[in-house]
Symmetry: D2
Subunit: 342 residues, 4 copies
Amino acid sequence: MTQRIAIIGASGYTGAELIRLIATHPSFEIKALAANSKAGQTMAQVFPHLRHLDLPALVTWEEIDFDGIDLCFCALPHKTSQEVISKLPGHLKIVDLSADFRLRDPADYGKWYGNPHAAEEMQKEAVYGLTEFYRDDIRGARLVAGTGCNAATGQFALRPLISAGVIGLDDIILDLKCGVSGAGRSLKENLLHAELSEGTNAYAVGGTHRHLGEFDQEFSKLAGRDVRVQFTPHLLPMNRGILATAYVSGEADAVHDALTRAYADEPFLEVLPMGETPSTHHVRGSNFCHIGVTGDRIPGRAIVVAALDNLTKGSSGQAVQNANLMLGVDETAGLMLAPCFP
Amino acid sequence: MTQRIAIIGASGYTGAELIRLIATHPSFEIKALAANSKAGQTMAQVFPHLRHLDLPALVTWEEIDFDGIDLCFCALPHKTSQEVISKLPGHLKIVDLSADFRLRDPADYGKWYGNPHAAEEMQKEAVYGLTEFYRDDIRGARLVAGTGCNAATGQFALRPLISAGVIGLDDIILDLKCGVSGAGRSLKENLLHAELSEGTNAYAVGGTHRHLGEFDQEFSKLAGRDVRVQFTPHLLPMNRGILATAYVSGEADAVHDALTRAYADEPFLEVLPMGETPSTHHVRGSNFCHIGVTGDRIPGRAIVVAALDNLTKGSSGQAVQNANLMLGVDETAGLMLAPCFP
Amino acid sequence: MTQRIAIIGASGYTGAELIRLIATHPSFEIKALAANSKAGQTMAQVFPHLRHLDLPALVTWEEIDFDGIDLCFCALPHKTSQEVISKLPGHLKIVDLSADFRLRDPADYGKWYGNPHAAEEMQKEAVYGLTEFYRDDIRGARLVAGTGCNAATGQFALRPLISAGVIGLDDIILDLKCGVSGAGRSLKENLLHAELSEGTNAYAVGGTHRHLGEFDQEFSKLAGRDVRVQFTPHLLPMNRGILATAYVSGEADAVHDALTRAYADEPFLEVLPMGETPSTHHVRGSNFCHIGVTGDRIPGRAIVVAALDNLTKGSSGQAVQNANLMLGVDETAGLMLAPCFP
Amino acid sequence: MTQRIAIIGASGYTGAELIRLIATHPSFEIKALAANSKAGQTMAQVFPHLRHLDLPALVTWEEIDFDGIDLCFCALPHKTSQEVISKLPGHLKIVDLSADFRLRDPADYGKWYGNPHAAEEMQKEAVYGLTEFYRDDIRGARLVAGTGCNAATGQFALRPLISAGVIGLDDIILDLKCGVSGAGRSLKENLLHAELSEGTNAYAVGGTHRHLGEFDQEFSKLAGRDVRVQFTPHLLPMNRGILATAYVSGEADAVHDALTRAYADEPFLEVLPMGETPSTHHVRGSNFCHIGVTGDRIPGRAIVVAALDNLTKGSSGQAVQNANLMLGVDETAGLMLAPCFP
């Protein structure tokens, strides 16, 4: 049975990535595309790489007739997203890719995003969209909140270790290396090719990145106590990919074992043989996440490295995976595209 | 019905690209993978981006039992390819990705490749694999010779113009901009990141590039007279993509019209609206070729620009497209992957 | 004797490149830096790579006391530049890096730039700043108009050939490959890393690029008749560098000979041995231009390839070279920095 | 007075970088260049970006007449370096860029490099070449051992903190992001553009990188007790640059203060204002190192980030700086080149 899909916010990178994935999805059909700032344009104008597809032209989201839609992806900026979603019809299943429904406590949202939440009631029914850990809730959810791409990467590396109790909770360090598409299609000086290529820098240093709200929420819930990690993202001269290097105290064998067992049946999470390290090259354009574990020369210290594509497994691929669950479709439908290397 | 596939030369980039495409092909199944220099290794070792696939380990091509194989892709270097192919069993359908069977006249082969042809008899039955122009021959062929990636790009831009007689034949200039994966996974100093990134240069300047053998053969056949184009490739700091800029004498409207009519029903060849120009960004990782036409300020001069992905439409995607025809499968099967942008 | 220098438009890439070069210039001292949109900021804020230098803070150009200035570089956008320059004091030597005084005929300016010229009187005294060909005029000039970076590259490849009468004038084709810094520090979607890296496209196709005004003016003057070249620029995923591939009719030996003789005593123009081709990698960050000549397999056709760094020899290096002449300093002062490779 | 310079190992990247720097050095003159594998070639053939220089052709090192040489840079691979240096004449001042004389204890050398030291006697007189910390010893030395590029970056970030006692010594983590030129001009698959661009990975994970030998030696000596840091390098798609992110326990203010005081008079080490972070973009091609400090949201934790160019401040620039000291020349001579941005 064909599922009728709408996308709001189709003119950004996560919107384009949703369309790329749905283009070869066996049971999804795109019925409406909205981008208020570019309403009236065709997708071929906004994203020429999608010109071969027979897609509806862009409209404003208010123009969409949601009666004929089964599920709506919302790929808007945070704050705008909650305002729009709160006005969508109640029958509609929604996968939100913004930050607006990720934090369960509206006070946390206010703290990290700087504005009061405009749809607190809807927050209560939102399910956190880290598929592999909230699968059952997602199946029955009406509103799923996609995770931050950095937050997903770090959690894939660390959640099973916290659950299994094989690492210390007070000295976790997450050093992330991030491709630039995570910043979206926004016109900022530091995102220009001339400013970014052939160099790197840290940003949001010192515990100010908003995805820390997710780490705090999720790791603390898992551990049953407050957990505060150190997290420093770095901007790299590449378009796609996040590599998370996690420094933990714990025995590497126990760490590797906990990950291997946790992900044994996961179609998209691959734990490498002990001592091997993943590369973002090898997951580019795909929904896979590769994870490697190595022990350090210092006894009792281990390094866990996780690699995924921020636009796919980190956002739009995750969103499709969640939509599959919500619509009763095979969870991997449309998502088995092999990584594009080189 | 599942088609049983073997790949010889699976450890190079075109081999990996074949596997990437076949990974989501609805009716192909990989039964054997050969790479004599890496026999005994797994594909996860040779190409970690394919580790999620359940693939046979690498063997030598001599070890393959071809009784259980319907079609064999041969992605070997030229010269080696003809030696191996001449020893393969006669029932086997073969798509060769090397240069060995592209030139119909063995003397041309000797001239451009510097060694006598070792399988002249087989050359006689080989069909030139530019799908859109040899479709009927390919359907019935046992051996199809994949084209050069540069040769494909230039021909997509120019063949309909020569056929329609809308351009002059004596002053065609093809200036190509090529990504580095076309050079394969070979260890050469000029292919190192440190030597290649952030700069560009021409190579094989002056009419020495081997793909000229294909241009000469095909354009002369089409025109019914000798045609010799000027062709200069340039190496660009990017992994995938060829952009061909063709300078021709002719009226832009007639040029655009000839291309539009020729490709009206082609699933992979997209002619842009008059005056628009394509980008390799917008075909990356896909089997599509975008073509644009612009008139020059100088009356009677036009510019045709064609963009494709050298690993996909320029070689492995073309190979799968040809294999689909040879095996009676839908021509686009496995090839509708949307380009991966950004 | 120290020459006192001011730079107006110091917050753009050509402004920063001027400062980089002057940083190790033996007799220039920067006395004032203006950037009206960033007045009040320090250069360390605007360009952190210059933080080790003891530079004046940014002011508006109106705040500069020009009594203490010997020469002023003006690195403003076109149109703004002529408005500002027309108000500068009459004693001041000026090197303008914009397009405003390049075209001698104000009608040409209006045609290519779309607005009437606001300082026609000053245009009359402006000298075209292609140093190697206007050296004597530049020495005595008060106002020198820096050339377009593409215009410089094409002229280095072609001027001696037109002068020597060794090529045809009616079928010259210039195919340029350009790094992105030529577009400046402007916030445009197509200049984002995510849009630009790993791909290429043509732009201003069909004879619409403004640097054609310079080609027309200079080549026609040289030839004593109208000359109209075909010129297509391409945007490449690299920050610095222009590679010009010129397709001409003529004998390669005569072409090589004309270039070799013309540039025999030039400190910055290097003609490679016959048959060798230059690379933008090998001139990056320097004031050098490398030029190579190759004959084509088609008799009577030759290819000339020129490579330079658009920010150095193509604009700010040329500007310093001209300033050296205007101030009676050794022409190469501050400009012998070796290219930065890799 | 002109200092007569020889370079052994001139065909690698650090050799080329030495020549680039010496090209505008006011008192160094290159008298001999050796590269045994490329003896007989010119530097224009081996490194075309140096073609404008009037350089001696490459010879074997055995052919050099060292009587006319004041100082010799040795840019050979480790192991080869000690064999060659042990045969050089006793009067010669030597700056070695290899790893061969960095570790004072030959047992340490054997442990990290896997072969016994072939010149233990010479090791005794070698001075560790981290200029800012061994300045006086270097002035009087005959043999100076250049540091590892990673080792230099980490030490610039951490030495003053260990000396001042403002950080804990048992939980130091160094996460490094490294450009590819640090791996040299070697033909390895993972250094190909197609394998490296647009992605990243960790390597030598778990405490196996050889530069740890230097960290252990130097930090332990400073602290007066054994110090073992965790150090994980990552390969980034960029040619030049190292960014070291150091995670330490300590008060950020005290950390910033210790660095600021230690480097107050250093010409090449720039401590940024509290809370700012450096970028490798802003030191590219220069001898500068930028260092930033930020406190974490977790009390008592700080992050120190250091950025330098591995080929300049990390090796060849450091080597020239040391040579300046050894020859009684101004320490900054030839090294004030501004970074090349963009």
